[in-house]
Amino acid sequence: MAEVLVLVDHTDGQVKKNTAELLTLARRLGEPSAVFVGKDVEAARPRLAQFGAEKVYVIDNPDVTGALAAPLAEALAAVAEQASPAAILLPTSGVNKEAAARLAVKTGSGLITDATNVEAGDSGVKTTQSAFASNFTVTSTVTTPTAIVTVKANATAPQAAQAGATAVPVEVTVSDAGKATQVTASEPKQKSGRPELTEAQIVVSGGRGTGGDFSPVEAFADTLGAAVGASRAAVDAGWYPHSNQVGQTGKQVSPQLYVAAGISGAIQHRAGMQTSKTIVAINKDEEAPIFELVDFGVVGDLFTVLPQANDAVKAAKS
């Protein structure tokens, strides 16, 4: 059976859930092998074994960090040359997509980004992704011998399948061209203590209608255990960090519940949230397009509606 490479997403060897999802998907296509970039492979091996990685290719080289696309692409090309895989799966992220892009050109392989499903097809690896602000679902086939696919979080439920996870060190020499771009400074982001936007079951977002006061949005989010999102108008005004932006140029979220407060519902905002299971909106303007999407909407002022809802939810919970 052909190998299928899965790029491991980890922090200091702590393997993230998306990697377990990708290893689960990889088993549909062939024999999963993990590709581990970094030095803490021993910490990661048990989890990689648990989800079915027969081999773990280890790239422990300071020139390859996972923060820059060009060296990562060279490293993955070296593994691919050794393994001749049927597919290479990477968790979707800015850097991973760009590494996948370079890898596609290097190896002459078809590339699909942001897949929400991956299957074995009759004439190649078959993928599902969404298009045009999630108004369409598209299925594609990769027709080259190796398929490169970046996969979104929550594409499948991780299923355990014990395997050996034998470590296979890979020597990589990054070219001078690959080393040309450097990270010269890095400032870690402050953690909010709230759930990650893309992983949260509930997201409460505020827009221009907050007038810059996100306190009712945050209070409601905290009562619900939710992540806080923002429209681009709120981000552009400097009211909330860009990392919380929901939409085409922000995060794409698909939670159980999405609450939009003071957000009009522009197509670029919808692109990031319209696949949410349940959508609720509070907006002063009954004509706001966001109401076309909602399961429940309140025409009203968010500064009175949200605090009242917050009190009522708190009362219901206790």
Binding site: A73, V105, T137, T139, T184
Partner: protein, 261 residues
């Protein structure tokens, strides 16, 4: 400095975007425009050119209508345009697009470009991969998704934000750079700009002009194939209440009934 900006002509996101019979993006029956995310790249190029010596060339690979994208960039202030137009390009995937773009960029720059500026993503394909592919094909460093940008001493420096950190990146020129919608506020074409654009040179090149074999591009040669597309069923509008002093309570009742709390 010689700046090349790659821009794409895309179907308007405000229109009902859809696919054609052959499963490619419908670029004929849906109004198109310069991808809004490429306006940020054009603006950044204009600012750099205005700050020093320099010329801005916009390059697009696309159908007839793509001339509109060039026109808009020229109206904003770019100096000249290149339109790669060839029926054989229809249906090309990202790797093939980057192949054509690589040859076009080299020819437009008269050899090696000093700086190639691109958008964060095309608003139709939204893959964010063509800049990296182009860098790979040109053998250049990439420095991408920047929300600030500075050129000095033969180097490009900029800020790239991820969820975990805000990084400062640096690369030697020549380089391929992509910018986000955080980087600037694109200008609107002025009346003067609109008039001036009419006299600016636009060249149209075919694949033969670029020495690219038509067999390497297009729908038949693509490495990925769209099998099917399905419109997501429209969301049905649920209950809308007007707040009469109990809107928040009703909202909480809805959440309780839907077992969301």
């Amino acid at each position: 400095m010689n700046i090349v900006v790659c821009v794409k002509y895309v179907p308007d996101a405000q229109a009902d975007r859809t696919f054609s019979q052959d499963n490619t993006t419908d670029r004929t029956n849906v109004d198109g425009l310069l991808s809004e995310l490429d306006e940020y790249a054009v603006e950044e190029a204009l600012k750099l050119a205005e700050a020093g010596e320099g010329e801005v060339t916009v390059v697009t690979v696309g159908p007839d209508g793509a001339a509109e994208a060039i026109k808009k960039a020229l109206q904003m202030g770019a100096d000249k345009g290149v339109h790669v137009l060839d029926d054989a390009i229809h249906g090309s995937d990202a790797p093939a697009t980057s192949l054509v773009l690589a040859e076009a960029v080299k020819k437009a720059a008269g050899g090696s470009p000093e700086l190639v500026l691109m958008g964060l993503a095309s608003t139709d394909g939204t893959m964010s991969v063509v800049p990296a592919m182009l860098a790979e094909r040109l053998g250049l460093p990439q420095i991408t998704q920047l929300s600030s940008l500075e050129i000095a001493d033969g180097k490009v420096t900029g800020r790239r934000d991820s969820d975990a950190a805000s990084d400062t990146l640096e690369a030697p020129l020549p380089a391929v750079v992509s910018v986000t919608d955080q980087i600037n506020e694109p200008r609107y074409p002025s009346f003067k700009g609109i008039m001036a654009a009419k006299k600016k040179p636009v060249e149209t090149w075919s694949l033969a002009d670029l020495g690219v074999d038509a067999g390497q591009v297009g729908l038949e040669s693509a490495w990925t194939k769209v099998e099917s597309f399905t419109a997501r069923p429209p969301r049905e509008q649920g209950e809308i209440v007007t707040d009469e002093g109990d809107g928040g309570t009703k909202l909480a009742e809805f959440l309780a009934k839907a077992k969301l709390i």
